[in-house]
């Protein structure tokens, strides 16, 4: 039997990604095979996608597209950089990227926590629907585009057009924001918001950060409804 003490070791230079993913998909909800270590990812795509089990998968090296996509309940750790679409459409669990993440990190995510120790590039949290994303560095342009629900917390700076066409997601940025997108505005920070932000930073294991340094951004809600002045356009 494989107990939790000795993790499964998977060398992706020796066996295909598909075999790893199929083994992870075969795990039941009460599996005791809870520790997996993946080596030599070498930028391969779709590593550890579609997991639905309370396990930990630690990946040593840089990963390609869509790592840990659709994740449910698992904790996936990337000891390196992640390519486009890391944790795309995550449902629950935790994905932790110890390096940088490329475009569209956490896109359409519905739940769970995506923690990025480095920077995330363009379109971080695009169309997010309930996920919590915490980026210790900065995020690129068009982050939180059409973000519907959830929280994007950025300890560094944000690129151009932050929160364009944002719905009800909450955006907190500690550094500079290059520009805000359409219908995204700065909002007041109340004690209620500071407490929520503190709780999320705690959940991400981040201490020593003053929540008073953050600004909150969200929807001005001007794009929600048809404006009667536009009726003559039809």
């Amino acid at each position: 039997m494989n107990g939790t003490a000795s993790p499964h070791l998977v060398d992706l230079s020796a066996s295909p990604t598909r075999a790893l993913n199929q083994a992870l998909h075969a795990l039941g909800p009460d599996t005791n095979e809870t520790l997996w270590r993946v080596v030599r990812p070498d930028g391969r795509h779709a590593i550890a996608v579609g997991i639905d089990a309370p396990i930990t998968v630690e990946i040593d090296g840089h990963v390609g597209y869509y790592c840990a996509g659709m994740n449910k309940r698992a904790r996936v750790i990337v000891n390196g950089n992640a390519g486009p679409g890391v944790a795309e459409n995550m449902m629950s669990g935790t994905v932790h990227v110890r390096g940088d993440a490329s475009q569209a990190a956490g896109a359409t995510g519905r739940g769970g926590l995506l923690l990025i120790d480095g920077n995330a590039s363009a379109r971080c949290g695009i169309s997010m629907k309930g996920i919590d994303i915490v980026v210790k560095g900065g995020v690129g342009h068009m982050s939180a585009f059409m973000a519907q629900a959830g929280t994007l917390i950025v300890l560094g700076d944000a690129g151009e057009s932050l929160g364009d066409s944002v719905y009800e997601a909450r955006l907190y940025v500690r550094g500079a924001v290059a520009s805000l997108g359409a219908d995204c505005v700065a909002k007041t920070m109340s004690d209620h918001h500071r407490a929520k932000l503190r709780a999320r930073l705690d959940a991400a294991g981040i201490s020593g950060v003053d929540v008073g340094e953050f600004r909150r951004y969200g929807s001005a809600r001007r794009l929600y409804h048809f404006h009667v002045d536009n009726a003559l356009a039809y």
């Binding site: 070498d42 930028g43 840089h62 390609g64 490329s102 590039s121 690129g140 068009m142």
Partner: protein, 299 residues
């Protein structure tokens, strides 16, 4: 799709391995561009000679062709066959005369590139087969750029494969598609730039050559492209002394770079860089959109 790679060596001790490293990088990106592939490689050059990379008609007797060019070249022409291409080495002062002699032949001999150090090879087919047919693995060089193509804007032909070269020791590979290439091509034709295909990337190469012909530096020419070329692009540009990288302002196409004490490398995906020596300790990052990156060596 499409895949592009670039490798610029800082450590001359790696130059003999250049072809093997570079062929590996291109091969990994076969699935991003299975139609055709090409590469530019910068080897050692002689001060007073120029290398003409040509694609002679199938069945051409290369030795006879070299002899026929002797009057134009003013002496013996060194000719080396490389797959479907060949490299002619001629005195720099005779370059125009040899080019005229090549153009006057029936059937015509296609010129692929000209340069003191640059040789360009491209062909239709799986990238691994293309690089093998040219013997890239055994080539030495200081830097190079390469491309695997999945065609969108023009036909799958050898002429439509990248890199595109429109100037001496200058070439360009492109991942993306330009939307205003027809208008820009018309303007550049009026300005005297010649085009051989309907390909969008050739327009970008012509644009950069035109800007540099007017006195702009490579960095200035690339910066100008941000305003004048519309569409999606990641460009990697090769020059005699180095290479440059530019992504469109919305970063539509992926790109990743790595740097160590021994080299700077570019890849559409990290997979292409994963087999480079010492990559585990390299600084790996994503180039920022709309920003010009340049690496140069003393010429």
């Amino acid at each position: 799709m499409c895949g592009i790679v670039g490798l610029f060596l800082k450590d001359a001790a790696l130059e003999r391995e250049f072809g093997a490293l570079f062929a590996g990088m291109l091969g990994v990106l076969s699935d991003r561009g299975p139609d055709s592939a090409g590469f530019a490689i910068y080897g050692r050059g002689e001060l007073d000679a120029v290398k003409l990379t040509i694609r002679p008609p199938r069945g051409t007797d290369l030795a006879a062709l070299a002899r026929a060019l002797e009057p134009a070249a003013g002496g013996v022409v060194e000719a080396r066959r490389r797959g479907s291409h060949a490299v002619l080495v001629v005195p720099a002062t005779r370059e125009q005369a040899v080019l005229a002699a090549l153009a006057a032949r029936t059937p015509p001999v296609a010129l692929v590139s000209r340069g003191r150090r640059m040789e360009v090879y491209k062909e239709v087919g799986r990238p691994t087969e293309v690089t093998e047919s040219f013997g890239l693995e055994r080539m030495a060089g200081s830097h190079g750029i390469g491309h695997t193509r999945m065609a969108t804007e023009s036909a799958v032909t050898t002429e439509g494969a990248h890199p595109f070269s429109t100037g001496r020791d200058q070439c360009l590979v492109h991942n993306g598609s330009l939307s205003n290439h027809n208008a820009v091509r018309r303007e550049l034709r009026r300005a005297g730039i010649a085009f051989e295909t309907e390909n969008d990337t050739e327009v970008a190469a012509g644009y950069l050559s035109w800007r540099m012909g007017q006195g702009a530096s490579l960095a200035e020419a690339l910066q100008g492209a941000v305003g004048d070329l519309d569409g999606f692009y990641t460009f990697v540009v090769g020059t005699e002394s180095g290479f440059g990288v530019l992504r469109d302002p919305i970063a539509c196409k992926p790109a990743v770079m790595a740097e160590t004490d021994r080299y700077v490398a570019f890849g559409t995906e990290y997979r292409a860089l994963a087999a480079l020596p010492g990559i585990e300790a390299a600084r790996v990052w994503e180039p920022e959109p709309g920003r010009v990156y340049l690496w140069e060596r003393a010429a």
